[in-house]
Symmetry: C2
Subunit: 305 residues, 2 copies
């Protein structure tokens, strides 16, 4: 996957691995490989996925929260951190699909950063070097469900637990170029095609330009609605992948979802744990589609304001 | 997947689960779930895959060999077994892709049978009831790589280790109908299509008839070659999925593979660990294709005999 290396400007000392099981499996594979009994790791609590990652890590070592935005219902990304100098790594969720927040810049820590980038990988250029490990369930910006990308730095790979079962060791897959077992061929083939598409679009700078344009349009529509549409997140933490907002009532939200669907906008219902509206606009969503959505929102407000 | 239930006549007390990682991951997931520290399980050694399963099981408990055909280079399926009454389960590999052997009937044991059926699932009807767990890496008779089918009986499911990480517990996937995480959708969709195809062919009795016809043709060609082609396996243990044979020399084998490929017969080279020729004729291989291969073999022998 030469295109992963060139798109990310990935240094030579990172292995590119294809695994399966999604981010949900990586929640456990990371601490299984990197967190020994009694060892600690710093986790940053930005919502549902971070909590799930923490839950699995507790089975293997002594992870702790180094920061949390639970005090304000996960409407912001923390900017101050209580890092433990003994931590084996610092884990973060770079985009929070349910809460609609996204890391704009990443923290500086002594330990390697480990990131769940499942829902915002390839949306923009970023500096990989502070990250010891990045995992990506493909089914957002990268490809179809059924394959998980792992980028792991050599020094982190060298510290992995050697006593794990073969398939759960990052070293097995890194050492065999992801061919220790039969990998999920079709999904990997589709990832190849997506990477070519991203390259053809102009690479990550072009993706960022498009994603920021979509974010500007939709947040502009929300903020310009005179309070009819309300986004609960701190503006500095707003996600340009998943935009969440509320309408004046749950009845109006249900109507918005139904009429939106009839107009061709699918999946507008917010996650069942938080309610409201969610617009997922991954790389595949065009600026034109968001322009149309904003027009729909304006018209919906005019009729139901 | 109603068609799995109807094709196999699967009793209600079995859960149907879709996972990932292939048989290679199940080699570990089975003992992780079913074999506690100090507990024992009976494994039957019929070749490379059984050995890999044993290697992973040793990380979790005290598995032992209850039978082995290693004394004759895995050219037969054992018929006598030294079962341990304390065994949690009896593990077998129902078809051995490298050695070209296949179980025709399954042993009777007090403990539940656990089978790796990756390479011969759906080739014929069989009685599921003695099996506590069956796992199937899809990419032979069932569908594309990237999904693994697990059938697990309720009493075995109830005994699974509850302290595992979420994604590695059979109970997680059984309890959530394989939707705890985003499953490998495309691969599962293709499995659905394959099941419909099998049903349309006349179900498992029709598959068996076709597979036995292919086996009859190819083994007939080998046995009728006056020793030019030689199959090393005990006739009662011969696989109708993977037929292995030798030619009089390695040079002739290389020539056979090359000329076969030119004639449209791909993948004839035996596994690198054993050499020789291997013909894989899963459900997708037609009787006509094997008839053509037999004609090619006859002509090759005439020219190179």
């Amino acid at each position: 996957m030469e295109n992963i290396r060139t798109l990310l400007k990935l240094p030579e000392n990172y292995a590119v691995i294809f695994m399966t099981g999604g981010a949900t499996a990586q929640f456990a594979f990371v601490p299984m490989n990197l967190l020994g009994e009694g060892q600690t790791a710093d986790y940053i609590n930005t919502g549902s996925w971070a909590k799930k990652a923490m839950k699995e890590a507790k089975l293997f070592g002594k992870p702790r929260w180094a920061a949390s935005s639970e005090d304000k219902a996960f409407t912001y990304i923390p900017t101050t951190f209580d890092f433990d100098p003994q931590a084996e790594y610092v884990h973060l969720t770079s985009n929070n699909t349910i809460e609609g927040t996204q890391w704009q810049t990443f923290p500086t820590a002594a330990a390697p950063l480990v990131a769940d980038m499942s829902s915002d990988f390839l949306w923009r250029p970023f500096d990989v070097k502070p990250f010891g490990l990045i995992y990506v369930g493909a089914q957002k910006n990268l490809g179809p469900a059924g394959v998980t990308l792992v980028l792991i730095r050599d020094d982190v790979l060298a510290k992995c637990n050697p006593n794990l079962t073969t398939m759960l060791k990052y070293g097995t897959h890194a050492g065999e170029n992801s061919l220790y077992n039969t990998p999920p061929c079709f999904s990997i083939y589709m990832v190849r095609n997506v990477l070519r598409w991203v390259k053809g679009q102009g690479g990550l700078p072009a993706m960022e330009k498009q994603n920021r344009a979509k974010g500007g349009l939709l947040y502009g529509a929300i903020d310009g609605s005179g309070g009819y549409y309300k986004n609960p997140c701190d503006p500095a933490s707003r996600s340009v992948m998943n935009v969440v907002f509320r309408l004046p009532s749950e009845d109006l939200e249900a109507k918005f979802v139904a009429e939106g669907k009839a107009a061709g906008f699918i999946g507008l219902k917010g996650h069942r744990s938080v309610g409201g509206i969610r617009v997922s606009m991954y790389n595949a969503a065009s600026v034109a589609s968001i322009t149309e959505l904003c027009a729909f929102m304006k018209e919906f407000q005019r009729k139901n304001g």
